[in-house]
């Protein structure tokens, strides 16, 4: 197991580097003029303005030079200092976010993390529970209702579901608004009297004993959390159900019953634990997806997280932002996959031995 993890850890930077090269390759299909247009707001008044931008950002350099500069930074002509460079912890300047990419991630990640945090527990817990119930009542009415629920949920596009809940719970009833905080609450959060310990609004509000802010933050979270939860329940239910059905037929289940264990004990302890492997894979993938920001959900609910930023950056062809976010996201993805694999070993001793 240790060798396996070591091997995977060694290959990890190669994969992440490969992804950034892939992004570079895609964006190198654009001409310097097309890329410079990102930095131009109006029609330039001065002649040669675009050439100046191309010069300044080195957009005319050969692609490997640009990649090298992005990776290790470049020497400033005037001061002789080396500026930028991913290896030196600088992901560059994001034109879309109007600040450095690191700052953008620092600002957006807490929002996404808060969403992921609130979505994860009900999503995974209820998804698995429904799957087990469905498997236990195999082919009975409950199972059939849950299967319909799952396959329909699996067929609804995120944006249709999101707009649907907005239609009823926001436009009609006015209960849950889009965004992350109401204006008055945002002012309180920004004020000096309010300490932002974690930048997760719900947690900070509780720590500052501002329950009105907590309630406001929660109100903004409910719709995106519901959207994410329903669509992922459907998927987890499916996986849990089929894995549980497999397990329920095993002989050790009969043994467990023969020992006189209660049915609940048999199903939840002997059954579910043995059915966990595919569930962990899918659950892990869903969590990783959440941390990387959920593009569509955040866009619909106007939620200022990683996903909505990413959509903006990619749509406006902001090369530096896309590269920075991709580097971050793919690292999370690859690390997350590794973690999931390691988790297998804990859940299933047979894998650990191999």
């Amino acid at each position: 197991m240790t060798t396996y993890i070591a091997r995977r850890l060694l290959i990890l930077p190669v994969i992440v580097l490969g992804v950034t090269m892939l992004v570079f390759a895609m964006l190198s299909l654009l001409t310097p003029y097309e890329r410079a247009s990102l930095y131009v707001q109006d029609i330039p008044k001065r002649q040669g303005a675009i050439e100046g931008i191309i010069e300044k950002y080195g957009l005319n350099d050969p692609i490997y030079v640009q990649y090298w500069k992005w990776m290790v930074g470049q020497r400033d002509e005037d001061t002789g200092e080396i500026v930028g460079g991913v290896l030196r912890g600088n992901l560059g300047w994001s034109q879309t976010g109007k600040s450095s990419v690191m700052v953008v991630i620092g600002r957006r990640l807490p929002a996404t993390a808060e969403l992921a945090l609130w979505a994860a527990v009900p999503m995974i817990g209820i998804g698995i529970a429904l799957g087990v119930v469905s498997a236990v009542h195999h082919n009975k009415l409950t199972d059939q209702i849950l299967r319909v629920f799952s396959i329909v949920g699996w067929s609804i596009p995120t944006f249709v579901f999101g707009l649907g809940v907005l239609m009823f719970l926001y436009a009609r009833l006015g209960w849950f608004p889009p965004g992350r905080l109401s204006d008055w609450a945002a002012q309180i959060v920004q004020a000096d009297a309010f300490t932002q310990y974690t930048h997760l609004n719900t947690v900070d509000a509780l720590l500052n004993l501002r329950f009105d802010v907590f309630w406001d933050a929660l109100k903004h979270l409910i719709l995106p959390v519901t959207t994410l939860a329903y669509l992922n329940w459907a998927y987890l239910l499916r996986v849990t159900r089929s894995s549980m059905l497999d397990t329920l037929r095993q002989e050790y289940m009969t043994t467990a019953r023969a020992k006189g264990l209660t049915e609940a004990m048999v199903i939840w302890k002997h059954g579910l634990v043995n059915a966990l492997i595919p569930i962990i894979t899918i659950g892990g993938l869903i969590l990783i997806g959440l941390l990387n920001g959920v593009v569509i959900t955040e866009t619909i609910f106007n939620y200022p997280g990683m996903g909505s930023f990413l959509a903006q950056a990619a749509l406006s062809l902001d090369v530096v932002s896309v590269l920075g976010i991709t580097l971050f996201s793919s690292t999370v993805l690859v690390m997350g996959n590794l973690l999931v694999d390691v988790l297998y070993g804990f859940v299933d001793p047979r894998i650990r031995l191999r």
């Binding site: 892939l22 199972d143 319909v148 396959i151 067929s155 596009p157 009609r172 959509a311």
Partner: protein
């Protein structure tokens, strides 16, 4: 034959097949159900009834109402069926072919080639899908916007021929070109599952005696691969393909919803829902701009998923007996 019988007798897949049949009828009958205006340049551009921004409720001349900009919803939903079929089927075929080619080459030749191809697959998988698709389609849109001929234009022409049946000798219609960019982006980042699955399966069947026998009698690599290995390893790919068609339609709809897939006013369900983004606070009044195109997408994807679900139960022996009718 057994598979077809099963698909037709199982209530789950029968529902799916009936839905697909209904969609097919709508797609074929589009010119009669929603006849395009007489001097229409392109029947896929939804006709407009004026230019007012406020959507109009269903009734009168527009049975399903109009969206922002007075695009007729009934027309869009009907002609959008054709778009959905084209997109779903063409993307599925191309992702499957790409994945099959890469996976079978990797598995058959093994060694460093296998190692290299699998690393590339991993790199593509480490790139979050929607981010990748959004980036690539916005890049492609800019490039194709230039209108230069090149290898990429050649690719677009090939895809246009298969998707729209357009003449490869002529310039590609810019409206179609924009749809092709979204499709290309999804194809580029959608083949990895196929590659991995087919590789695993070929590795398993490669060791069988019949493969060795074919090699002893001097069959070429190509022949062994195409005649002996692929047919024995291909079932799971069919299952994945049928289950994926729905998700490709969803992915393309997501691109359209973000304003990348189809052009404004094109008969594409995702694009039609894109209009609703400006009307979120008043969706309670203008529910129809989401409800009708939304229902069309859900039913279409549901149909493919229902068929795919039963197909998986039937074709994948490991899954046999687990499904049970709905």
């Amino acid at each position: 034959m057994k598979v077809i019988k099963k698909l037709l007798t199982n209530p789950t897949s029968l529902t799916g097949i009936l839905l697909l049949f209904a969609f097919t009828v709508i797609a074929i009958g589009a010119p009669w159900i929603a006849p395009p205006p007489e001097n229409a340049r392109d029947p896929y551009m939804i006709p407009r009834d004026g230019f007012s921004t406020t959507p109009e409720l269903p009734g009168g001349e527009h049975p399903l109402g109009t969206t922002e900009g007075q695009y007729d919803i009934l027309y869009g939903v009907v002609w959008g069926t054709r778009t959905a079929f084209r997109i779903g089927v063409v993307i599925t075929i191309f992702t499957a072919i790409t994945g099959l080619t890469i996976g079978s080459i990797a598995a058959y030749y093994g060694g460093w080639l296998d190692e290299a191809l699998m690393r590339v697959t991993e790199i593509f998988q480490a790139f979050p899908f929607l981010l990748a698709a959004i980036t690539l389609s916005s890049v492609l849109q800019t490039i194709y916007g230039r209108g230069e001929a090149g290898a990429l234009m050649f690719l677009a022409k090939g895809l246009a021929l298969i998707t729209f049946g357009s003449n490869p000798m002529k310039e590609v219609d810019p409206i179609q070109l924009q749809i092709l960019t979204g499709m290309l982006a999804i194809i580029t980042f959608g083949w990895m599952t196929y590659a991995r699955v087919i590789r695993g399966n070929i590795l398993a069947v490669r060791e069988h005696e019949y493969a060795l026998a074919a090699r002893t009698i001097g069959a070429s690599d190509m022949r062994i691969l195409l005649r002996h290995l692929l047919p024995n390893a291909i079932y799971p790919v069919l299952v994945i393909a049928s289950m994926n068609t729905g998700s490709y339609v969803l992915a393309f709809a997501a691109l359209s919803f973000l304003g990348l897939g189809a052009q404004r006013g094109y008969a594409d369900w995702g694009q039609m829902i894109n209009f609703a983004r400006n009307w979120i606070p008043s969706l309670a009044d203008y529910w129809h701009i989401v409800a009708y195109p939304g229902a069309a997408i859900v039913l279409f994807v549901l149909a493919w998923n229902l068929v795919g679900d039963v197909l998986r139960d039937t074709l994948d022996p490991r899954m046999r007996g687990k499904g049970g009718g709905l």
